[in-house]
């Protein structure tokens, strides 16, 4: 079943334009998006989240058309490059923030959040204040927060780029495993091929707001298109 479907998407802001005729993501699939700076990767992500206006086209998730909905109604969780944790809350409170909004009871919120802390391998950080966390720890909490809310689609906007190499490696694998286990779909934007290679199932390559290539990881790796090679090898 096609979980996420994008058709005839047109984004415009000033002189920038992004056009995407069709894109599909299956349930449980992780789509990696790559491209040079200014190619439209982040704009694509933000338009799905509802933070970048869609001029034309449609985005549907689970058969539900979301392109005209307010961001809070789209059931799409966005993770930024920096963690952007809520400073007035502890780690566990950050994680169950989304659950609380859905009316889940406090006990259940805590139970689920503790579960995610274990999955993220940071149970000891439960009651810490967010400013006490290292960069890697904070990003794990941010990811746990986005996963805990249970939305079918997860958008990851360069979530590993602020981390050092060992941390990135560990987190890539962890994110892939957790997304697969939860049955969600995800779109991962990165300018680092290693992130895509280790975490994604399929890849979309953008250049100047246009689709250059889209296919499975193997297909993209085998592509002879010089633009694809240039982006993947950067």
């Amino acid at each position: 079943m096609t979980e996420i479907k994008i058709s005839n998407l047109l984004l415009e802001r000033g002189t920038f334009q992004l056009q995407l005729d069709a894109l599909q993501i299956q349930q449980g699939e992780i789509l990696g998006v790559m491209g040079k700076s200014g190619s439209g990767k982040t704009s694509l992500l933000h338009s799905i989240a509802g933070f970048f206006p869609i001029k034309e086209g449609q985005v549907s998730v689970f058969g539900r058309e979301i392109s005209r909905l307010d961001p809070e109604k789209r059931n799409v969780a966005l993770v930024f490059q920096k963690p952007w944790l809520f400073e007035h809350q502890t780690v566990i409170e950050n994680i169950f923030f989304g659950l609380k909004l859905q009316g889940v009871s406090k006990e259940e919120c805590i139970r689920q959040a503790e579960d995610w802390l274990k999955k993220m391998e940071i149970p000891e950080l439960r009651d810490r204040k967010v400013w006490e966390l290292s960069g890697g720890q904070a990003q794990r909490v941010s990811l746990a927060r986005a996963l805990a809310v249970g939305f079918p689609l997860l958008l990851l906007d360069e979530p590993f780029s602020a981390l050092d190499a060992p941390l990135r490696k560990g987190l890539r694998a962890l994110v892939r495993r957790l997304v697969k286990e939860s049955g969600k779909s995800a779109i991962l934007v990165s300018h680092d091929w290693r992130d895509i290679e280790e975490a994604a199932d399929s890849v979309l390559i953008l250049d100047s707001g246009r689709k250059v290539a889209w296919g499975s990881l193997r297909e993209i790796k085998a592509s002879t298109d010089s633009r694809v090679k240039a982006i993947c090898e950067e």
Binding site: G50, F51, E72, K82, E87, H88, F97, L101
Partner: protein, 514 residues
Amino acid sequence: MNWILSFPAFLILIMGFVAPLMFLFALGLRDFSDSVLRDPFLLYVIQFTYFQALVSSVLSVGFGFFTAWMIKEWRVRGGSWLWKICLLCSSLPAIIVALGILGTWGPGGLGSGILSGTRGVFGWTGIILGHVFLNFAIPLRLIGNALRERDRSAEMTALSLGMSRLAIFGQITLPKIKPSIVCSFILAFLFSSTSLFIVLFLGGGPRFTTLEVSLYEAIKLNLDNSRACQIASVQAIICTSILFLYLRSQKGSFLNEQVHRNGIFRPRTKWIETIGSCLMWSLVVFLIGLPLISILVDGVGVLHFLNLVELSRAALISLGIAFGVGVLSLAILYPLLHAVHHENSSKALKGLSWLVGLPQFFSSLVVALGLSVFYPSIRGNNLQAYLAIVVAQTLFVIPLIQFPLREGFQRYSKEQDLTAQSLGANRWQRFLWVEFPSMKRSLILSALIAAGFSLGEVATVLLFSPAEVQTLSLSIFQAMSRYRFQEAHAMTVILLVVMVLIFGVVGRLEEKDD
């Protein structure tokens, strides 16, 4: 939606400030004759007003900059206490400051020996001392915050490449904090040029007359409203010019770099640190501490003169008004700044939002005269009077609290808001559960500053209050005018203690970022 949120702020600005002022100018300019400008004494007054303001503001900025540097860069010992004491100074009623300076530097005071052989504290000395006392906290806060917020990585890089600290200061540090220096100079100049009580009490006589004093004189006894309006018009035109300079200086005056906090200007040996700390504390004690001690000494010995019933009543009324001012000023300013910082607000709205600071650019006497002329029937009716006092004080408080609120909004990032939205939080949920908690510190800070200002404020209470409304500050004035000087001194101590408590908390909240 943005304009709806901004509406209360612009409404109070227009009905409480712009309309009364325009009405006042219309009255003044209707009978305007150039005899006002050909009056030689008035020309002298204009010259004196801005010359003393220039000297006062240069010294205020100098002292404020030095103190900010010592606290934020040098990390002088006891710096957090120093910060709190200094913040307190700018919020004391001018009349209390004048009494403190007189008690220290006047005849018979501790420091009077230094001034013997001169005219003493009255005149230039008193005016400068008083203005520096009241205004140095402006550069202290603005420059201090700029020093704290700047990114020091460029300085550290330059040092590692062999540049001297002096050169680093001149070529890297100073350009970063220059907007805050300019901004604080303009504000200190403005407040010095429109100050009234310091010039009245410490100047003394026609030679030390400013435009504000001339205005006061025209209203108080001469019943010359026409002349008052004309002087107010001249002053307002000059103030408006200063306003434009100030708005231009705003660009770049907010830094929020928050990277690499470790400084390179710290003292390199314990000895230098100790000597520097002693010098700093000596200077502050000399200029600031002695007048405050003088007030306490005068008042503590006569606390038994306090009429506790009257004091409690006055304190309750003062606190009630202060609470009202705190709540109203936040209720008006917060939605406006929220609209400016978070929604997709237009450039026009962002620009117009700075207009809420307008009242601080005009003398309180001019604003009070405008209100009095535009709403003549408010006096005497208790409920209307309370409301008028709260609204008038709110007008003056909003310019003061917009800085901590804007800083709070700067720290609350757009991405946090987007994250919460993507997790399913609607507008109200984001406000209640994310924005408001993270703004809590700025809100408390602003409310305390508003309350502190209100407690020391007298002009609006004098203007609007019926006889039954006696605030603490007003009680001090009235006790003095009824021979009850000891009671006035005792109440001054109480007011000072309350101010110390409030600004102690303010200082504590501000230093949490360090």
